[in-house]
């Protein structure tokens, strides 16, 4: 039996070890670092299945909780990081081209090490039950992301993305801390469990203070999960950042953000006066996010940017699930949606990397004729796009289905209507990619797309999982906490 805190500790130790290995030049090939990282994270992943009871030895019980939900998300984060590293290995040539170095390859080792630290931060984030802990974990994640987004120092768009993410991220962090101080002022607590106990006792005169703090925290977490109107960084940052980092941002960062949001909002749902306000805010945010994300995605021509808007749209569906949190199935529906979202988003990005390398860009037009160049890749992309759009017999369909069901049960008919309409527009923009692959002619000189063994194995597994869970969702539902 492993003490739960050792999971994060060992990820940090792994990161430090890799950093030292890089500093002392232990790894001849930089990709070796990635393989070590993958191996280490896989070991930690296995370790999550041998977790003992929550230990009190470090006086951490108030800060840190290990329940089924956090354990599920720890595994979620570990798998995401492993997939990001697999993708990064494929992406290495582009990194080496776009990072200035005295010797060839120098300066690209950290590209594999930073995700490990991010991973530790995300793992802490999903276990955090105290605002201080949430803040620290969030900062570890965000700061390491600033570096990763701006990693390609010769690429203007990457630098621009880094700057935008840094400034807007700092802004949102400011709001988070300010919100926490209001909570602390009104309740005298930073611990969510304690806040939950104190909340019903707060005099009505102090309610605006709590609501003020709540609004500010909602702003900060809305930034993390890309909810409208705090989503403006998303398209630019997604497009400019290195592709593996974009995938990481889109999946792991968003998922952890949602989990923290669920944890933070949960105490406030127990008090009716807060609940009503919160409910209204969430419904409005969900509505705006759904409409904006889906409509703005329609005219896009760049695939990464399209996925950025699509990630906003998916945040809309997830917020819909959050607004319906009163339903018994809503929490499970959100977690199911996030898991499906992991599969299909990583699948799309895993395919994007080799296609970008072979075609020299990440516009939708660079997918032209992929069905004839690499039918297997095109088929996998077809599955990813179909699942993102929510076609039946893919996991994406059931994700949306469960969310809509929960929203219906809660009487959120307007949101469900908006959801269904926007799903239809989603079909339009995802199928642009399919049209490019299957109906547009390939460029004259284009051959098959080269792809590494690991990536193709990962692509195969993800595509199969999307289909299997699309037919038999109970498989995943059984694993949900």
């Amino acid at each position: 039996m492993i003490d739960p805190v050792f999971l994060e500790v060992s990820v940090v130790v792994l990161g430090i070890f890799l950093l030292m290995a890089e500093a002392f030049g232990l790894a001849k090939e930089k990709s070796t670092l990635a393989w070590w990282a993958i191996g280490g994270l896989a070991a930690v992943f296995i370790g999550t299945f041998f977790i003992g009871p929550n230990s009190n030895s470090f006086e951490v019980s108030g800060f840190y909780v290990v329940d089924g939900l956090s354990l599920f998300f720890k595994r979620f984060v570990l798998i995401s990081t492993i997939l990001v590293l697999v993708m990064s290995v494929d992406y290495l040539p582009i990194v080496q081209r776009l990072v200035p170095a005295e010797r060839p390859g120098a300066g690209s080792g950290e590209f594999f090490i930073l995700p490990v630290f991010t991973c530790a931060g995300l793992m802490w984030m999903v276990s955090a039950t105290d605002f201080i802990m949430i803040f620290c974990a969030l900062e570890l994640v965000t700061i390491s992301f600033y570096i990763q987004v701006a990693y390609l120092r010769r690429s203007m768009s990457s630098l621009e993305a880094g700057t935008k993410y840094l400034i807007l991220g700092a802004l949102s962090t400011g709001f988070l801390v300010y919100g926490i101080t209001w909570f602390f002022g009104a309740t005298g607590q930073t611990n969510l469990v304690a806040i939950r106990e104190v909340l019903p006792l707060i005099p009505v005169a102090n309610h605006p203070a709590i609501l003020f703090g709540l609004a500010l925290v909602l702003v900060a977490l809305g930034f993390k999960i890309a909810a409208v109107p705090f989503q403006f960084w998303v398209p630019d940052v997604y497009q400019g950042a290195p592709t593996p980092v974009t995938a990481y941002l889109a999946v792991a960062s968003k998922a952890a953000g949602f989990l923290v949001l669920i944890r933070v909002l949960e105490p406030f749902f127990t008090v009716p006066s807060f609940q009503n306000k919160l409910f209204l805010a969430l419904v409005l945010l969900a509505l705006l996010t759904l409409v904006f994300g889906n409509l703005a995605a329609i005219p896009q021509t760049n695939f990464k940017r399209l996925l950025g808007y699509s990630s906003i749209a998916h945040a809309g569906y997830l917020l819909m699930g959050l607004a319906a949190i009163g339903d018994a199935f809503a929490g499970g529906a959100v977690v199911f949606y996030l898991s499906g979202y992991l599969l299909m988003t990583f699948l799309a990005f895993l395919i994007l990397v080799p296609v970008t390398k072979a075609s020299g860009g990440d516009d939708i037009a660079h997918f032209n004729g992929l069905a004839r160049r690499s039918p297997g890749l095109a088929l996998a992309m077809l599955i990813a796009a179909a699942s993102l759009a929510g076609v039946p017999f893919t996991v994406g369909f059931f994700g949306k289905f469960f969310i809509f069901e929960a929203a219906m049960n809660q009487g959120l008919y307007l949101l469900v209507l908006a959801g269904i309409v926007t799903v239809a527009s989603g079909f339009y923009y995802y199928f642009k990619v399919i049209r490019a692959m299957y109906w547009q002619p390939a460029p004259e000189d284009a051959g098959p797309v080269a792809i590494t063994k690991t990536s193709s194995v990962a692509i195969f597994i993800l595509a199969m999982l999307i289909l299997i869970l699309g037919v038999y969702p109970q498989l995943l539902i059984g694993m949900l906490p």
Binding site: V12, I16, L19, M20, E22, A23, F24, F58
Partner: protein
């Protein structure tokens, strides 16, 4: 309820109005003294600059400064730690010491990394 905000509205109107009036007055009245080359010459505006206004610092300066701040704050962090947990240390011994040591250790690894990467090597 909205009437409560009437003073605020008045305040805004006065602020905007004053600024507008002042700027328009400036334009209208300022026309009397037209610009000419003599008026724009150095004599009337100050000294002739001898170099670019802001000297460029080497980027290494920022790097070293940042590392300095990082380790400086580490030390600053230790003072309140030692004061706040004074009683705790007396009671239950070394566990809190180990926590702080592990924190320092992590920073130490960062320091080693910085040295190996040549961050403190000014000549490079």
């Amino acid at each position: 309820m909205l009437q409560d905000y009437t003073p605020v509205l008045l305040h805004v109107i006065i602020a905007v109005g004053f600024a507008t009036v002042a700027m328009i007055a400036n334009i209208v009245l300022g026309r009397t003294g037209k610009r000419n080359p003599t008026k724009d010459s150095v004599y009337e505006c100050g000294m002739v600059p001898e170099m670019a206004g802001q000297p460029r610092f080497s980027v290494k300066f920022y790097l070293v400064a940042m590392l300095f701040i990082l380790f400086d704050i580490e030390i600053v962090f230790m003072y309140p730690w030692a004061v706040v947990y004074q009683d705790f240390i007396a009671e239950s011994g070394t566990i809190i010491l180990w926590s702080m040591l592990s924190f320092v250790l992590i920073l130490l690894f960062g320091y080693v990394y910085a040295i190996k990467k040549g961050a403190l090597d000014w000549s490079r």
